[in-house]
Symmetry: C2
Subunit: 243 residues, 2 copies
């Protein structure tokens, strides 16, 4: 309970309007070609059949994090996914129907793992970031903020592994970084930094689909990964970061 203004401080109960509190999810995926976003076609008013982020209201006995996990699971069937609170959007006019605060989360999912059936129930589709449709309300702004955050965070912490399957090739990782930043990176320097980080472990098997020679699979060293998430590790050229 908080005072609204100084003159109200003596009063025990303050006038305070309650509001709807929603959670919306910006869901990133990577299919080897481009970074994509999972959007749903709204099957309900207002703005029926427009594209939007997946969202829902926070339930009375549910934390924000739990609401976000629940909503993500509804759409993808996935639990335990990398997810982080992004920003709270609260412009009074953002939802024309009713005052609603939206706490936005972003998630990084292995696009191969999600349950396609669920997405079909929601008329969901993966859109490349370069070909996004117009979204309802302020969802475009949410996506913009999420993209900035992803670039920012991934420049300093190795979170992009979350977008790949458990076994991946260096080529896939490189392509991922290049599509997140829209820039070509030097393969040799990239690999060197990657290997010196000690985060990846080479497997015995090779991926043979995309080349004759075949490319070794790698796995993430999960211990090193967990402890490295808090420290700063970058596979990008420093000047990309420090401009």
């Amino acid at each position: 309970m908080y005072p609204e203004t100084r003159s109200e401080m003596a009063v025990k109960h303050y006038r305070a309007d309650k509001m709807l509190v929603a959670v919306d999810c910006v869901i990133f995926g990577f299919d080897g070609e481009a970074l994509k976003l999972l959007l749903i076609k709204r099957g309900f008013e207002p703005q029926k059949s427009k594209w939007s982020l997946m969202g829902g209201f926070v339930q009375p006995k549910e934390s924000l994090d739990n609401a976000a996990s629940r909503i993500l699971e509804q759409l993808t069937g996935l639990k335990g996914v990398f997810m982080e609170q992004l920003f709270a959007f609260g412009d009074p006019a953002r939802d024309p129907m009713e005052r609603t605060i939206s706490v936005v989360y972003y998630a990084l999912v292995d696009i191969g793992q999600y349950k396609k059936q669920l997405s079909e129930d929601f008329h969901a589709e993966w859109f490349p970031l370069s070909e996004l449709p117009l979204l309802i309300f302020d969802h475009d702004q949410m996506v913009g903020t999420a993209r900035e955050r992803l670039q920012y965070k991934a420049a300093l912490h190795p979170i992009l592994f979350e977008l790949l399957p458990g076994r991946f090739t260096i080529r896939q990782l490189l392509d991922l970084y290049e599509s997140v930043y829209g820039k070509e990176l030097d393969k040799r320097n990239f690999i060197r930094k990657l290997q010196s980080s000690g985060l990846i472990i080479r497997q015995k098997e090779k991926e043979k689909g995309s080349s004759k020679k075949g490319a070794f699979y790698f796995k993430l060293d999960k211990r090193k990964y967990s402890s490295s998430l808090r420290s700063f590790i970058s596979f990008l050229p420093t000047k990309e970061i420090f401009q």
Copy 2:
């Protein structure tokens, strides 16, 4: 308007409980000695006369940013202060009286500028971060998150200038960095990086209070400062950041 669950998608209006939405402010200041926090002694129930962050409810036609600015101004009399949304706290049990979502902001203020009178009205006091009292609800956690964010952000962007007056000495800036990170920094390297950033302009006047020789005042180059806030600039040793 969002669906709560899939089964509700066909329904036009969904059951959704509204909640109180508050904004709390973590207000940092620096007095040349230590980094401090401005706390108020609650003059209202619950938890009357316990210490807490300054907060208030978001008004029906007010954005979150505006609510935060309003609340900060109520306590300090300051406008146009550096302020940033920190995090939304929404544990169902965080406020024992009623379900309340709190969107927390942190602010960096020039401690010499704030209106002491207003603070007295709220029974507010500046506390060194090392001597904080117990705070109500989850305000300790909010402060912890704010401290982490401040260290993180200031390691990459030159935001700590916001805590100093318009005219400052290098010594003050160095002391500030040292108190934010709780570490001693090499004066010569610090100055070199600072100067090579081109962010500060030496004034003609000297500060004569704390030494016989006197130390030049500097001012921030506001143009370079504005454009640099988005890029990465650090005056800290790289290994402090990249561990």
